[in-house]
Subunit: 333 residues, 2 copies
């Protein structure tokens, strides 16, 4: 009898649920279903409020923002007791969310994927996706996410990342840009960006995307210090081509490199639809080789293309192949 | 009578729908509703197949992969004729999706937000979110998305970005890593990463996440050249802390910097829960100032912290403020 009482009827499960921006409309069906099948729902108090309509009658464990490892420990305890647990993250559970801390706690406890306690991660739209959808199309080209929180990351690591991506012309989403106590991080980020980007680079500050107090402000890199930025804000910094027009922030994909957008989309001379640009990898290697053979030094080429000398050397050393590959296979624009 | 025939009953609408990875379960309610209310559904043939169950009886316009601008033009024409149009993107419509090309075409046509044709972008989980959920928790720290397609982007731009983020230790998701015709880009990406990262850096290659032919392969940076990579693959490259254990790829968030994970999570000496690390911005500024006053040169400090000299100089020039700010306000772990 006692043995039966101690033995749970079935093994528990931990479901790491990304609920998206916070409106039920923008949650996936799988996220809704996971919350519906959960016995226990665990999350930061603010996120629990966002799913209040879906959790009636369930055991709720509310945690403060600093208790991420505690949330994971509570989830494991409940799952060990045979319960199905929904661990709620806003946005995507894998992006600065509960997926990481949970696996860290699970591994620490000796858990393996063969354990009766199963784990499922349910992806959702992260803050950068939701904020981008509200401001236009800022993430149409290569982008980065950087958290300005130095609670777990040394500042030199964060600063090096800011400097690198500002230089390499990424669109950047800053998570955790500022809190009551952390106010100078965003100033330092701005300083690092202004070393590489124009002062009028477009910046969008999105607060509480798709929630009741949603607020969007457009500003520029040199003026962003005056904007209201807080813990619920995401800061989107454009690349050198990003523009704001009629209240929409757009990063061009690069069609203008290939097509004459003024002339009804005619393909530019030397370019072919469905093929790499003339300045794409193989075209660039041709040019590089010709410039080198014409007497340009490795260092001069490295300087010209803003790439490391040893990389230039290595590509020139590589045996040369002409453009090959199946003509039949589909390819991108 | 004629005038009435030419005048549509109501203005049309363009809905840019991110359908997530491709299984209906991982689509948001708003995405389903948008497709349901659409008169016309436009998309790349493969994406149209993924939503086949939802589009019966609707006008369908299938386009090939290279016809992104065509898709946007068709959407605008249908919306001008008073129709509601769902323009389908896999993943998120804003991430290498249709949001960018559509705004480019709209602006080109003279469209403004005051136009009767309205535009709505519906965010979804992008490939990096979906792929991460399937392999573990690789995106728990700062990350980048880079497309290796050089069809619209010059190779030196892509190469500079790869080099910068490899150096600055980002987790990286490579989109469009390879096609029948583009085979050397991934080799060049590997070469650039190996300049900065260990050969055994974990790499996950995820094909057709959450679709019928889903396939996940774990490999390492130096062996990724042997892996099967194609147009439907996303390549996730870990940072210097990412590990694979029991078939799960995890990037630690940094709790070990603050807590002794072996000792039941005790806070390390000199650190405080809910506060910046001792090597966070303000702590680091203290150290920097002390080292400078003890005689270290700006250039030596720049070298030590791998940051630009003028940035070190600028932070030292800034008037010094002790740690202040509201104790009451919440803060992260």
């Amino acid at each position: 009898m006692n043995a039966q009482l101690e033995q749970p009827a079935a093994a528990g499960k931990i479901m790491l649920v990304g609920i998206g921006p916070g409106s039920v409309d923008h949650m996936t069906q799988r996220a809704r279903d996971a919350i519906a099948e959960a016995d226990v729902v665990i999350g930061y108090v603010t996120y629990i409020k966002l799913v209040a309509d879906l959790i009636e009658g369930k055991e709720i464990i509310r945690k403060s923002m600093t208790e991420e490892l505690d949330r994971a420990v509570s989830a494991l305890e409940a799952a060990r007791a045979g319960k199905k647990v929904a661990l709620i993250s806003s946005g995507d559970a894998g992006v600065y969310g509960m997926a990481g801390p949970t696996y860290e706690v699970l591994f620490q406890s000796g858990w393996t994927p063969e354990d009766p306690v199963q784990v499922e991660i349910i992806p959702g739209a992260s803050a950068l996706n939701s904020c981008a959808a509200l401001v236009g199309a800022p993430l149409t080209h290569d982008f980065c996410a950087i958290s300005l929180s130095d609670l777990l990351t040394p500042w030199p690591t964060i600063a090096r990342r800011l400097d690198a991506v500002a230089m390499a012309d990424f669109v950047v989403a800053l998570y955790n840009p500022k809190s009551g106590r952390r106010t100078r991080q965003i100033v330092e980020a701005q300083r690092l960006f202004l070393r590489h980007r124009r002062p009028d680079t477009p910046v969008a500050i999105v607060k509480s995307a798709y929630r009741r107090r949603e607020n969007i402000v457009f500003t520029t890199l040199d003026s962003m210090g005056d904007a209201d930025i807080g813990m619920l804000s995401t800061v989107l910094i454009g690349n050198s081509n990003t523009f704001v027009r009629d209240g929409l922030m757009v990063t061009p994909r690069g069609y203008a490199n290939k097509y004459d957008m003024q002339e009804g989309g005619a393909t530019r001379e030397g370019e072919r639809a469905g093929r790499s640009l003339s300045t794409g990898l193989l075209g660039w290697l041709d040019t590089l080789r010709a410039e080198y053979q014409a007497g340009a030094s490795i260092d001069a080429l490295a300087m010209q293309y803003h790439l490391p000398s040893d990389y230039i050397q290595a590509t020139l050393d590589e045996p040369w192949e002409a453009e090959t590959g199946s003509e039949a296979e589909g390819s991108e624009a």
